[in-house]
């Protein structure tokens, strides 16, 4: 339009947004550099507190972090949990992936022969409060304890009819299915490497 004042080019319009994006990006990078290690240490401490419980141990346990090459060729983190009498109590696997809204981080406990799931803990999730977030609560995650690793876990919305089924959190089917699929995948990927480590190593 002829009578409209000259608006100038894109840069003249948006230079403040560009400068702010750079400054704020720098500030966030600095925050992450300063606080990131502390956050990671907090998460690790929480993981170490939960790991013994996930393989059915109550008291002291020796937790050894291990790196394994999974079935799909990627490097994965896991923990070898040794009871105070020196016997192998089980393994705890780390799994993470997309939930309904954001990344979900899990710890999955399995028996030494990787035949049975012994526990599940949700380290981090940002699912819908009081809906999807309930996957982190005992009523949902305790269902995994005792399930066989021979067949994949299926999520149903009614009372489970077979031993490989779990019931989803009402109104949060996607969050529930995401967790079950992460568990299925990590067991599928890690079963063989862990069994090989156990028979070959110690």
């Amino acid at each position: 339009m002829a009578d409209e004042p000259r608006q100038g080019g894109y840069l003249r319009q948006a230079w403040l947004v560009i400068v702010l994006a750079l400054v704020y990006g720098g500030a966030l990078a600095a925050t992450q550099t300063a606080l990131g290690p502390r956050v990671a240490a907090n998460r690790l401490r929480e993981a170490y507190r939960e790991i013994p419980k996930l393989v059915g141990l109550d008291g002291e346990a020796n937790i050894v972090p291990i790196e394994l090459t999974a079935a799909d060729g990627s490097q994965r983190q896991a923990y070898e949990v040794v009871a105070s009498d020196g016997t192998l109590a089980g393994w705890v696997l780390r799994a993470s992936g997309q939930g309904f809204q954001d990344r979900v981080e899990l710890l999955v406990g399995v028996t030494p022969d990787v035949s049975t799931i012994t526990g599940l803990y949700v380290l981090d999730q940002k699912e819908t409060p009081n809906l999807g977030s309930l996957v982190a609560e005992p009523p949902f995650r305790d269902q995994f304890r005792g399930l066989s690793t021979d067949q994949p876990i299926a999520v149903v919305t009614s009372t489970p009819t077979t031993t490989s089924q779990i019931r989803s959190v009402t109104g949060a089917t996607i969050s529930s299915t995401s967790v079950a699929e992460l568990v299925n995948r990590v067991i599928e990927d890690m079963k063989t490497p862990l069994r090989r480590l156990r028979s070959g190593g110690k």
């Binding site: 319009q13 704020y24 966030l28 956050v39 409060p129």
Partner: protein, 213 residues
């Protein structure tokens, strides 16, 4: 605008009660209902929101001469999101258990309308001193409102205040008070109380004026 803008002192006191973000403006209802089951999470939320509100108001006020009308909301959001992320990471680093308890509600401060409305109403138009006073007043008003809800809910629901047991062991904890329905009941009743007191005071003032005149 021909109307003169409020002074720093007016901005500060307005935020506490006359324009209280919760009781008068009904803004920020999500954290108000979600994290007031107990005093500790409520005050952590109030502190995090205050940090973001003060930082955003001051920075926006400093840049107010550079803002372009059609890009201002973008600049507000960018600024708010940055400070929310810093607050979220800080809580995760130094108050890990509280950070887990508050969950997504800290990142959700980004969409708390109290902050963007202060940027729009005050900080983008007035000087840094006024914007700072405004942010402090609104933060205090928000904190007081959260505290009022959390006090009622924690005492009735858990028999404690700030985690310190107040009521005798025989108190049957009204669990519903810490659950979502308790948040709605408490907010409704407190709103009614604030309105009732406000109306009584207005009537009394009108009566006094009539007697004098």
């Amino acid at each position: 605008m021909s109307k003169t803008e409020p002074t720093a002192l007016e901005r500060f006191t307005n935020g506490i009660l006359p324009e209280n973000p919760i009781y008068r403006q009904f803004l920020g209802m999500c954290p108000t209902l979600a994290v007031t089951g107990a005093m500790k999470p409520a005050m952590t939320m109030a502190a995090a929101t205050a940090f973001v509100l003060v930082s955003a108001n001051v920075i926006i006020s400093l840049m107010r001469g550079l803002l372009r009308p059609h890009l201002r909301i973008l600049v507000f959001t960018l600024t708010i999101a940055t400070f929310v992320t810093i607050a979220d990471r800080f809580l995760e680093a130094y108050f890990y258990a509280m950070s887990k308890e508050l969950g997504p509600y800290v990142p959700l401060i980004i969409v708390n309308c109290i902050i963007i409305s202060r940027c729009e109403i005050c900080a983008s138009k007035q000087s840094v001193g006024v914007a700072l006073a405004d942010a402090l007043g609104m933060s205090l008003g928000f904190a007081l409102a959260l505290a009022s809800l959390a006090t009622v809910r924690e005492i009735l629901g858990s028999g404690s205040w700030f985690g310190v047991t107040l009521l005798p062991a025989g108190w049957p904890h009204w669990t519903i008070m810490i659950l979502s329905p308790g948040a709605f009941f408490t907010l409704g009743l407190l709103l009614a109380l604030v309105n009732w007191v406000g109306r009584r005071r207005a009537e009394a003032a009108a009566l006094r004026a009539r007697i004098k005149g």
